[in-house]
Symmetry: C2
Amino acid sequence: MNKDRCLLPATDDECRKAWLTLHDTLDIVGGKWKLVLISILRGGKMKFRELAKEAGISPRILSKELKELEANGLVSRTVLDTRPISVEYELTAYSVSLNEVISTMYEWGQMHRQKITGKA
Amino acid sequence: MNKDRCLLPATDDECRKAWLTLHDTLDIVGGKWKLVLISILRGGKMKFRELAKEAGISPRILSKELKELEANGLVSRTVLDTRPISVEYELTAYSVSLNEVISTMYEWGQMHRQKITGKA
DNA sequence: CAGGATCCCAACCGATACTG
DNA sequence: CAGTATCGGTTGGGATCCTG
């Protein structure tokens, strides 16, 4: 069995590790908001409020999501010395590493939709 | 902006559609069980009970998940004429189309883990 | 304005019991 | 054995209020 197509490595331990690795990706890409936020931030840096409004997300969740994105190095947080204070969020250069993941998923989704909805 | 790296097409409508397409993929790949089940079924066809035990999943959820996988053409369901009845589940040929998605995600996860955990 | 605290509701999932 | 029905616990998100 080819390792690229295999989700069932030889040992249980390997299997668990493979699953965890996949899970890392899912935590970022699979959540309800992360991809939405990333997609919005592709349009440029944004303040907390703007982001909340644009995404239609409550501040509590937005704050949590942004923290996770920041912890994963995908988003940078910059406190501006304004009065009152404001904070800008921006995609990092590293975030483009996700592009391949996203586009692969997008392409499969497109292909799949054709297959399911009676194709063309 | 290159369309491959763009999740923000020109119009809101296009954007919504792109998101739905991505969502189709997430529904399958992002759930708690789908990938687990697919991975187990990579080992060959399996009966309902076996699958439940192997995955550690309750019958109610298993049934639901399998229905969704079947509806998406990823798994086939075969009723065997035994007494009592038994049902075999098996990956379809189509299911291999997911391999690229999965391996891309896996590879990103691996790369990312290095980046986050202070790399090697 | 940022974002934490609180309260509430909805979705989800597991365990178990039950039917065909 | 396959799969559904019921119930109870847990998680996650929305709304709102509040403080720095």
